[in-house]
């Protein structure tokens, strides 16, 4: 773990605020381009303030390092991806398994942010970036024209001057707020993730989840949040399991239900409890997630300033796809490249930094967000959250419950019955099916 270092007086070509995945990636590209760059981190080490669900999709790391998988701090390589729909006493799982996901070049991995983030920040420092930990960027420095020319820190008020600041300061980004790019608070576009990490012996995890040789499982769950828009998750690490819920903060606050009660519900569910039996809580944590999608992504550049990662609301929460770290890395790399080009060209104005957005549009970061821009609204809608989990479970239950001597009814009849029992009109079911086809098609 790096010891806190004191910022030097003087200036850098760029100051990157936040040494999470976005900031480390931005600092890496700036350093690789030969630029002097300071990477500020308010925690004692990168990742110390971060909590995520649990899976990093590493394809974007191919841009960072060839054969990164040979050295990345991994817990398990995900070979099972399950989607579970549940009610209090029912559950239906779609369980996909792929052994090639457990071989190079891999797909998704579980890892701890306290290990992954320092590893990635280490790539930036290896390339020449200067990591400064235990230091808060408390505000932006501006010249008389309003252009951002550095940051103020809480190290005796020390100032760092530069041509461009890259704000990778996370979901609460006070720098993006100060610059007027993000609203002060937008509860409707944020979810709260609450997670418990539970210790279990490695071989017990292997047996219960049907994996081995460093393989892991990823379970995404709908219907476990008492109708509060959101979902649950369960990820296997080497000798722990991460289990938690993600819920709309606005609806959580209005519900009167405490977040840890939702985790307790999930852990006690008959489909989940046997997987966790005997586990001991190793750590509890929580973090906000910007889940508003494409329509809530702010302006990404101002004069002397770029925004990347969660600070730019770039987490993808599109139902089947729940990705954030890869979007942070992708946006950070692009921000670092754009900043390096602008510094080299001597123009760090907003137009001089515009190649950042164009770069993001040409690749997954903004393309995926644009494609699934309707997804947050659909996934968090009242019927998807409050009625469809029970409708689906009731339908499957009626399909597989043998009612001899009564003959089996047809599938359409069972669907009509399940819909009616859960207060869904067929017209609504058809409309939502069409909407889903449009959203994800």
């Amino acid at each position: 773990m790096p010891e806190p270092t004191t910022p030097e007086a003087g200036r850098f070509d760029a100051v990157v605020v936040g040494a999470g995945p976005a900031g480390a990636a931005a600092a890496l590209e700036l350093a690789r381009a030969g630029r002097s760059v300071a990477l500020l981190e308010r925690g004692p080490f990168p990742g110390s303030k971060n909590v995520y669900g649990g899976v990093v999709y590493g394809r974007v790391l191919d841009q960072v390092l060839p054969r990164w998988w040979e050295e990345v701090p991994v817990e398990r390589w995900v070979v099972r991806r399950s989607t579970m729909v549940m009610t209090g006493h029912q559950s239906l799982s779609v369980d996909y398994r792929c052994q090639t996901w457990g071989e190079a070049p891999y797909n998704g991995m579980t890892t701890y942010r306290s290990r992954f983030d320092p590893w990635l920040a280490g790539k930036a420092t290896d390339a020449g970036a200067r990591l400064v930990t235990s230091t808060v960027a408390t505000g932006l420095l501006r010249d008389p024209s309003g252009r951002v020319v550095g940051v103020r820190t809480d190290r005796d008020g020390a100032e760092l001057h530069c041509d461009v600041v890259v704000a990778c300061d996370g979901v609460n980004s006070f720098l993006a707020k100060e610059a007027g790019l993000l609203p002060r608070a937008a509860a409707e576009h944020h979810t709260l993730g609450v997670k418990e990490v539970l210790a279990l012996p490695r071989e017990v995890i292997d047996e219960r989840f049907g994996v081995g040789n460093g393989e892991g499982a990823d379970i995404e769950i709908l219907g476990c949040t008492r109708g509060i828009p959101g979902g649950g998750f369960l990820y296997t690490n080497a000798d722990t399991v991460s289990v938690g819920i993600v819920v709309s903060v606005r609806h959580l606050a209005a519900s009167g239900v405490r977040p840890e009660e939702l985790i307790a519900d999930l852990k006690a569910h008959p489909s989940i409890a046997p997987l966790l039996r005997g586990a001991t809580v190793e750590e509890y944590g929580a973090h906000l997630i910007p889940e508003g999608g494409y329509d809530t992504i702010p302006e990404l550049a101002a004069d002397g300033l770029l925004v990347a990662g969660d600070a730019a609301a770039l987490t993808l929460a599109a139902g089947l796809w729940l990705e954030g770290v890869n979007f942070a890395i992708g946006s950070g790399l692009a921000a670092g490249r754009a900043a390096a080009r602008a510094v080299a060209a001597g123009d760090c104005s907003a137009p001089g930094l515009a190649s950042y957005r164009a770069d993001l549009q040409s690749q997954f970061v903004l393309a995926d967000h644009k494609r699934f821009r309707q997804a947050p609204g659909l996934v968090l809608s009242e019927r998807v959250q409050g009625r469809y989990p029970a409708l689906i479970c009731d339908l499957v239950e009626s399909l597989f419950t043998v009612t001899n001597p009564t003959p089996k009814p047809g599938g359409l009849r069972l669907t009509v019955n399940a819909a009616r029992r859960n207060g869904v009109k067929l017209r609504e079911l058809a409309a939502d099916t069409l909407r889903a086809a449009r959203t994800f098609g």
Partner: protein, 116 residues
């Protein structure tokens, strides 16, 4: 880091399991004891009790994942900054401008997640 596992004084309201599965409902204090905090002297979050006295929603009391907001008998809110996750939920859900003043703790202080 504490690895205490069982405590019968569970705060969860999920279905209670037989006694050999008490781990499903650990106490909130046990839960919070698993987290490493480097407590600074400065309170990084302050609550204006006068504003809070007029609040009927008390969204922060429900939503704070660290359960740090406690209603007081005079209608105000008591806030403990020491075990804060620094998540931002409280100011996001607060509908009274100026009730919650929110900053990050000083550099190097506050929560340190090991398994985040």
């Amino acid at each position: 880091m504490s690895t205490e596992s069982t405590d019968t004084a569970g705060t969860g309201t999920g279905p209670r399991r037989p006694s050999d599965e008490r781990w499903t409902g650990i106490s909130f204090a046990t839960r919070m004891a698993t987290v490493d905090f480097r407590v600074g002297r400065r309170a990084h979050i302050t609550v204006d009790a006068d504003v809070c006295r007029g609040c009927t929603t008390r969204a922060c009391v429900t939503a704070c994942p660290a359960d740090l907001f406690a209603p007081t008998s005079d209608g105000g809110i008591l806030f403990n900054y020491e075990e804060c996750f620094e998540c931002g939920t409280c100011y996001m859900v607060c509908n009274h401008e100026g009730a919650i003043s929110w900053t990050y703790p000083d550099g190097g202080q506050g929560v340190v997640f090991r398994r985040g």
